[in-house]
Symmetry: C2
Subunit: 415 residues, 2 copies
């Protein structure tokens, strides 16, 4: 009974009458398993146990709601519940992204549902929208702001000119970021969610290990300001796209045109843009975290079970063996920033390397600077990541270029 557990309990109690009006049935919390009591949650006369496996075997229970988080004992609890013929509702993105294939197979064997709407983008019904609402489509691509902490940090960096470390500290004080912020700021949380979205969109098995993951911890105030000046915003996106060669699966900071609706999703809010071949671009927006928004999704899954709405968890009866594309084969545009010695011929060397590598330049800008080293900003056209890797290595080898080249991918998100 942590944050989401208490939220779920409270929503079930507070909106019990509305849920009964919707479903014609009463949803009753039969038993709560908790290690420690949560003083914030008044559970009245609800039966409580400290043996978490008790709920998985309790014959009076139809649906087990797993809100522990992490891999174990969540995985064992879920599998035990399934093997005891119970439907499972979970908000556990890490569990689904990493062990979902095994869990879903077990659920199919026992003819029960595993529902996990709350695992991606909190209260936004994105799982249902992709799996059912867009079921007529071949999805072309999707791109989402699916980590509220990261979006809060990038929003503050842009709005107030603050630095990453400074905003992260505030986010931790506000409770938006964990004491160990690695999962959020290094993109692992977003990669869990993107892995799930990608499988839902394309009908491929969950392949978390194949997800390219780059966080926002290296995004500098300078890059945020440069993006702004170029008409872009930097957002931390999870992107998955169907190509002839495979499915792209990548989480990284991304420059997107400021006029895109998703570029205007601020603070801790989440949004997922899904482009289907029939419907075109659609977007789903809302709170990606928090007790009650997450509970909204958990309880919606319970209501689905009560209503007898059962779809295979990823929405496909037969899976595709389309491979996940290696990152070096992904094609995207780039923003590059490098510090060069201000002398004639340097730009010629840099642009020659790009040209020789088959990389077209969209824009180039040498910024004013009060030292011998000046920043050069380059926007490229779309090129294969492998070609860009080679070009960046060659540029970094130039004696006139100091330090590393900063590279942020650029996506137009227009279809």
């Amino acid at each position: 009974m942590g944050t989401v557990g208490s939220g779920t309990f409270n929503v079930l109690q507070g909106n019990g009458a509305e849920i009964t009006r919707r479903t014609g049935a009463e949803v009753k919390v039969a038993q709560v398993a908790q290690r420690r009591a949560n003083p914030a949650c008044d559970m009245g006369t609800t039966a409580i146990t400290d043996d978490i496996f008790a709920v998985a075997t309790n014959p009076e229970i139809d649906v087990v709601v797993e809100l522990i988080g992490g891999y174990e004992p969540a995985k064992e609890l879920v599998l035990t519940a399934i093997r005891n013929g119970k439907h499972v509702v979970t908000a556990n993105k890490a569990l689904i992204a990493v062990h979902g294939n095994e869990i879903f197979a077990e659920a199919a064997k026992h003819k029960v549902t595993v529902a996990y709407e709350a695992a991606v983008a909190g209260g936004i019904p994105i799982i249902k929208s992709v799996r059912e609402g867009l079921a007529a489509n071949q999805v072309n691509w999707l791109a989402g702001i699916i980590n509220g902490t990261g979006n809060f940090i990038l929003t503050e960096m842009r709005d107030k000119g603050r630095d990453f470390a400074d905003v992260l500290k505030e986010a931790q004080e506000l409770g938006y970021a964990e004491a160990d912020p690695t999962f959020d700021v290094e993109g692992i949380d977003a990669a869990h969610k993107l892995t799930i979205l990608s499988s839902l969109a394309f009908g491929i098995p969950l392949q978390f290990d194949a997800c390219f993951t780059e966080g926002i911890s290296k995004v500098s105030q300078e890059d945020v300001a440069n993006a702004e000046a170029l008409g872009y915003r930097i957002k931390h996106l999870g992107i998955s796209r169907r190509t002839d060669k495979g499915v792209e699966l990548r989480v990284h900071p991304t420059l997107i045109p400021e006029k895109r609706l998703i570029a205007n999703v601020h603070g801790v809010m989440n949004a997922v843009l899904v482009d289907g071949d029939a419907v075109g671009p659609t977007m789903y927006y809302g709170a990606g975290a928090g007790a009650e928004p997450t509970a909204s999704a958990v309880v919606a899954d319970i209501v689905d079970v009560v209503r007898g709405l059962q779809v295979s968890p990823l929405g496909y009866e037969s899976m595709s063996d389309m491979p996940v594309l290696p990152m070096e084969d992904v094609e995207t545009a780039y923003y590059l920033r490098m510090m060069v010695t201000e002398k004639p011929g340097v730009l010629a060397k840099v642009t020659k390397i790009l040209g020789d590598g088959g990389i077209s330049i969209e824009a180039i800008q040498q910024q004013e600077h009060h030292s011998a080293q000046v920043p050069v900003i380059i926007l490229t056209q779309t090129v294969r990541e492998g070609q860009m890797n080679a070009a960046i290595a060659a540029i970094e080898d130039l004696v006139e270029v100091s330090g590393q080249v900063t590279r942020i991918r650029v996506e137009n998100l227009d279809g």
Copy 2:
């Protein structure tokens, strides 16, 4: 086989393999009923009839898809199909908004589904999102841009400083607006859709006749520019809100803060903002019309039937008798524009009428003008519409005020 009919046929054919992969079943067009052949749609060897009732009685057909539009013969076709035990999928908002209660009752009697995702906001899965995705919530309010033609016109008026009549003519040439644009520009189409959304959100019977409906045909370029200068945009919204006294149900031009995400939904795109008590604000965005986006929703409904996903059409097993609030009891803020004779004491008279009527002024602006008549702009705080009606009547009675007072409602949309 008009626009949406051909689109649906094409999506079913083009994405047939994907749909089979998703459902494990093959969806076959068993028969097409059409009055006239559509040369744009190659139906191959599909059985065709010109007797539309043939599909409603054909024993080989499980699902009848009604894409005729309008009340009759669509209503008779749908009822005949239901009475013959067929599930019905329809994109017909007018039919559902006006005859939905009767049709849903008949469907319940015959234990078949009536699905109508395409009736509201085209390809956006908004019906499913409200009915299922947000089922844990008591919805507080919803507000939608649910007529693409109207949003295209308002977007052009703002972006290019053009007049209503001028843009309407272009919209007609582009095929965005009908030769008779009444349904779109006078808000009737939006009122159909809002009626449906309101019943889904609050579990009240469909009450199209109770919907307050004001179109955009009287929105002037001057008001669009004034709104912009005040930090607002004018959008044609359908708004439904739960209050202690009843449910608001109203379609009208609305000033909304420009920083709201929905204020940045441009052109023919649609978006619906739904605020639930657990989830908070969520938004759903996409194409609200067009052959393939609408077909995306029609085919999603078919897939639901194939998957055996049956929910009562409005998502409630027991309906509420909460009344629809008369417009004069609705509380909102207002933008007022009036032409007054420029002489001392006029503003005092106007503000006295407002004050005596219990109306607080948020901002007042007397604009410069090169004539004896000057425009005065007033933003008020929230007040009951009945009080505002009385105040406007009194202001119009002043000899110093010429013509009518322009009144556009203002909504903050922040929860």
